[in-house]
């Protein structure tokens, strides 16, 4: 569905991506992770044609995205930028309605299908109850769901999101990620998101892309690729990787306590060769 070929992109003098080749799986939830300034947002923005590459191609279903009319792209690919500007005084239903832009013209400003799509999107993102509220009066979590509803109203097969959980508290982060997960599973959408939290990435992603310094270090299912070695490679951080007690997905725990009081670690909890440690008996159960 989405691929890049020999992609070179950056800002002004700085080259961020230098010859990147990447294929993202269809009907999967792909999460891109990496340290700050590793180029993950640049990659997402370039794939979403928000940034024009200096060289190379972004392919959408096999055709170069820059050769497609932008309205046509907007019917196949929804984008949620990192921190969209909330227009003053615009209501939720109004903003979600802007997602219908690629289907509208100045002489055809609204169709019954537009109304149905807006209703569907608001229900899916659980913002239907807020329809008449001004967006700038909502909380951060509500706002983010409204923005997602706007991109859902576009009725696209794929959805790209740039750090959709940043600035949200944990409960709202989970809420947004659950929504994206449901979109993938129930609506068969292809979802691609840049996330900061490795553990959330591991929990929700079907496909994980780890980047460092503008290049892809590893890509694949989190359970296969997310190891202590990879985290050291990508983030330069020593850690242990344990199975998450709830989901069994890899859970990354920094090994260095940095002055914080470390729990006594029993010898059996030392990382094994592959960087993982068995869950049972990992920590002393007393005092928990």
């Amino acid at each position: 569905m989405l691929s890049t070929r020999d992609l070179v992109a950056g800002y002004d003098e700085r080259t961020v991506l230098d010859g990147l080749d990447l294929d993202l799986p269809t009907d999967a939830f792909t999460v891109i992770v990496g340290p700050n300034a590793c180029g993950k947002s640049t990659l997402l923005r370039t794939m979403a044609r928000l940034l024009t590459p200096r060289r190379g191609t972004v392919l959408l279903d096999g055709s170069a995205i820059r050769d497609l009319p932008t309205r046509e792209v907007a019917r196949r690919l929804g984008v949620l930028p990192q921190s969209p500007l909330v227009p003053e005084g615009v209501t939720v239903a109004d903003l979600v309605g802007r997602g219908r832009q690629p289907y509208q013209r100045w002489w055809r400003q609204w169709s019954p299908e537009d109304g149905a799509a807006v209703d569907r999107a608001m229900t899916l993102a659980d913002v239907a109850g807020l329809a008449d509220r001004p967006v700038d009066s909502l909380s951060g979590g509500q706002r983010q769901r409204v923005w997602i509803a706007m991109t859902l109203a576009q009725d696209t097969d794929a959805l790209l999101l740039d750090e959709p959980t940043t600035f949200l508290d944990l409960a709202h982060q989970v809420e947004v990620l659950d929504l994206l997960h449901r979109l993938r599973v129930e609506r068969g959408r292809t979802v691609v998101a840049v996330l900061h939290d490795l553990n959330q990435a591991a929990r929700y992603a079907d496909h994980l892309v780890a980047m460092r310094a503008g290049a892809v270090v590893a890509a694949g299912p989190p359970r296969e690729i997310l190891t202590a070695d990879l985290v050291r490679d990508v983030f330069g951080l020593a850690c242990v990787v344990v199975p998450c007690p709830v989901t069994g997905a890899p859970l990354v725990v920094p090994a260095h306590t940095g002055g914080a009081t470390a729990r006594p670690v029993t010898p059996s909890t030392q990382p094994a060769d592959d960087g993982t440690i068995p869950l049972a008996g990992s920590y002393p159960s007393k005092g928990l």
Binding site: R49, A74, V79, L85, R98, W107, Q109, E113, D119, T247
Partner: protein, 364 residues
Amino acid sequence: MTTVDGRPDSATIPADVSPGAARLPGRSLLRIGPVSLQVRRRAVLVAVVLTVLLLLAVVLSLSLGTPYVAPADVLRALSGAGTPYDLVVFDLRLPRIVLAAVAGAAFGVAGTLIQSVARNPLASPDVIGITQGAGLAATVALTSGAAAVLVAPTALVGGLLAAVLLFALGARHGLAAQRFVLAGVAVAFAFRALTEVVMLTADPIDGLRAQIWLIGTLAGKGWTEAAWIAGTLLVLLPVLAWAGWALNSTALDDDTARGVGLRPVARRIGLAGTGVLVAAMVTAQVGAVDFVALVAPQVARRLVRAERPPLVCAALLGALLLVLADLAGRRLFAPTQLPAGVLTAAIGGPYLIFLLLRGRRRSS
């Protein structure tokens, strides 16, 4: 609740959502054949009220003056009944009043477009240098003894020249709001300085004529000027119809706009280009009466309670304001006539202070 693989439970999602009624808060759909337009119900109400007020103001303005013509006689004359007042109503007063209405509407349109691109309620043709460009050209024409008929065309060229400079300076950053305003302020100051130079070196009488032109007046003007402005608006009508729709999405940031398939830079160039074209034309014809362009969009926006200035209501309000300002200029200190520009500026200063104070209170 979570499923076996730890993924969140999805039973909370409705299986399917019935296609509900169109989600258009506060708006109705206007269908004409294949055309369907979103219309704010409140904007329709405001437009109707403004039209009625405008007609009342026109009749009032036709009636007041020396000689006084009773409104009933004005209406009789307008209906073509043939009255002794035909000369006063049709030949002396109507041309100037129609010009006031048309010019006011044009300023309202220009102001709406410029403010939306500048994302700034204080932007107007004189903030971004169009007025100063026209002013410099007109001053040169008036002080060099050019024929009177040449003043307006020269001023138009000056205004358009300022527009070209503005676009050249602002284009490098995709005509982004800040850049657009900054470039405009620079252009405005440059042209104003040049105008001062021309004025100071000119014959004092010519300088005074230029000064009056710069303030902006409708005295001695009529059908010709009105026809030029109305013609421009008429030719631009298809563009304005597009603009009315495109204005809806100027509130989105560029990334979001591109995401929904818009081309924000092209859209800004289209909107700003239309705005400066209208501004240059109307300024060339009536001078710097541009407070109307500043205030009409903002007041119209508050009346309609929209998140952005409404184009049609701003035009109607601009027309109403200029007709009233011209009437006040004619009658307040009669027989002395004040240029309409003085009146509009007299209301403009306090309004600007009000906006600034309000802005400070909101930000504190």
